[in-house]
Symmetry: D2
Subunit: 144 residues, 4 copies
C-alpha cells in the first residue's frame, strides 16, 4: 500500500506523453525523487524565468509548485488528468535569486473528492527556503 499508484517510469512516460509542454521533455523540469504521496521536482535556472531583481519570477515558482504537487497527488490517485487546482496559497519567504530551484511536495490529505498538498520551494544547492505553498485539488467523480 506504500507503492505509488503508477511507478516512476510510468509517471515520467505519462508526463511526457500527455503533458509535452510541461517541460519534462526538454529539461526545463526534472523529476528528482518520487514515492507515493511525495516527490521532488527541479527547476534549473532558465533565463526565460528571470525577472528584475534579478530573480526567478513568482509565476515560475508558483508553476513549479503546482506541477510538482500535482505529480505527488497522481502518485496516490493514479493518472487522472482532470484533477484540477481549486485553491493555491503561496507565501514567498526569501528572494529566489539566480539559482536552480527544487520543490519538495507531500500529501497532507488525499480524500475522495479533495486533496490538500504541501509544496516547499528552495534553492536546490543550499536548501534555503524560497516559498511555502498549500494547494487544494478537486478530484473528479469516479477517480477514486
Amino acid at each position: 500500500m506504500n507503492e505509488p499508484a503508477l511507478d516512476r517510469a510510468a509517471m515520467e512516460d505519462f508526463l511526457r506523453r500527455e503533458y509535452p509542454h510541461a517541460g519534462f521533455n526538454d529539461g526545463r523540469l526534472a523529476l528528482a525523487d518520487y514515492a507515493r504521496g511525495r516527490c521532488r521536482v527541479l527547476l534549473p535556472l532558465d533565463e526565460r524565468n528571470i525577472r528584475p531583481g534579478p530573480s526567478v519570477s513568482g509565476p515560475a515558482i508558483m508553476g513549479l509548485g503546482d506541477v510538482a504537487a500535482w505529480i505527488a497527488l497522481l502518485s496516490v490517485i493514479g493518472p487522472v488528468p482532470l484533477a484540477v487546482t481549486a485553491n493555491l496559497t503561496v507565501s514567498f519567504l526569501r528572494p529566489a535569486g539566480l539559482a536552480d530551484l527544487a520543490c519538495d511536495c507531500r500529501a497532507l490529505r488525499v480524500g475522495r473528492r479533495l486533496a490538500v498538498m504541501l509544496a516547499e520551494v528552495s534553492r536546490a544547492a543550499e536548501g534555503a527556503d524560497v516559498a511555502h505553498m498549500t494547494i487544494t485539488y478537486a478530484i473528479p467523480d469516479g477517480a477514486r
Copy 2:
C-alpha cells in the same frame, strides 16, 4: 488626491522600460483601464499559455493577477520596483478555456508597509469569473 501617483503614460513607459519582459512591449499583455488604486489588464489568448483541457494555464492566470495587482499598487505608491509579493491566494472558479482573459484589480488596503490587493480574472468577452485572487505586497521602507 484621486489622481494616480503616476499617470497612465508614465506607467506604460515605466513598464516598458523597467520590465521589458513583462509583455507590455509585444502585446502579450495590455493595460486597458487605469486609475488610482484600480486597473484592468488584458491577456490575449496565446498558444504558449495553453495547457491540456485545453485551457489557459493556471500559472498564466496567476502571473496575470500578480502583474495587474502590482500595477494597481504602483498607481497608489508610485514606481517602487521593490514592492514584492509576500503572499498570494487564488481560488479557481471556472476553467478559463480558450479565451482572452481580463484581470480587474483594486486596492483593498494600502498601508505604509503592507498592501492587500484584489484581482479578479474573467473571460474578457463574457465577463465569466475564472479566478479570484488576494495578494499581499511588502512595501520597502521609505517608499511611502
Copy 3:
C-alpha cells in the same frame, strides 16, 4: 430561479433549531440581509470577543465570516448541514477596534462539489473594511 433555496423564515428557524449555539438565538449574531447567494450578518460588540488593543478578536472575525458565508451557501444549496469548510483565507485590513461588525457575503462559485464564497467584514456604522475572506466549502455527494 433567483429565490433562495429556503426562505428567510425557514433559514432563521433552521439556524435556531439546528445550530442553537451559533448565536442567532441570543442576539450574539443577527441576519440582516438575505437573498439567494448573498447575506449580511451582524456581530454586535460583545466584551467576550474583545482582545488587547482593544479590538474585536481575529478568531471572532473569522468565525463571523465562516458562519455568514455558510448561510449564503445554504441559500443556494438548501439546508445541507454537512457542507464543511475546506479552506479559509483571511486578510486583515484594519483593526476592528471596538465596534459592531457586519459581514457581507456572496457566492463566487457554487459548483456541484465545491463552493467558493466571499466574505467582507466591516465596521457596521462606517463601512470601513476590516477583513477580506475567501472560503471554500466541500459539498457532500447528493446534496445538489
Copy 4:
C-alpha cells in the same frame, strides 16, 4: 543564538499578565513545548468549543493556530504585543471530532517587518492531522 528571546517562565508570565483572557490562566490553553521559533500549544476539549457533528469548531481551531503561531513568533522577536496577524490561510484536513487538540508551530521566515509561521493542528493523542495553517504577521517598526 538558539535561545528564545524570552525564556519559558517569562513567556508564560507575559501571556498571563498581558493576555489574561487568552486561556493560559484557567487551563483552556496550555503551553506544552517551547523553544526559539517553535512551540506546541494544547487545547483541551471544552464543551464551549463544540459544534454539531459533533466536533471542535473551526473558529476554535483557527484561534488555537493564531495564538500558538504568535507565541512561536514572540520566542524569536521578544514580547512585542503589536505584532498583528496580516493574513491567515487554513486548510481543514480531517474533522477534529471530540478530542484534545495540539498545535505545533514553527517559523518559516522571520524578517524585519514580516514573519511567516506554520501551524499544524492535530488530535493530541493520535497525532492525526486536523488543519494546516500558514500565518503572516506584520511586525511594528523598531521591534527588531
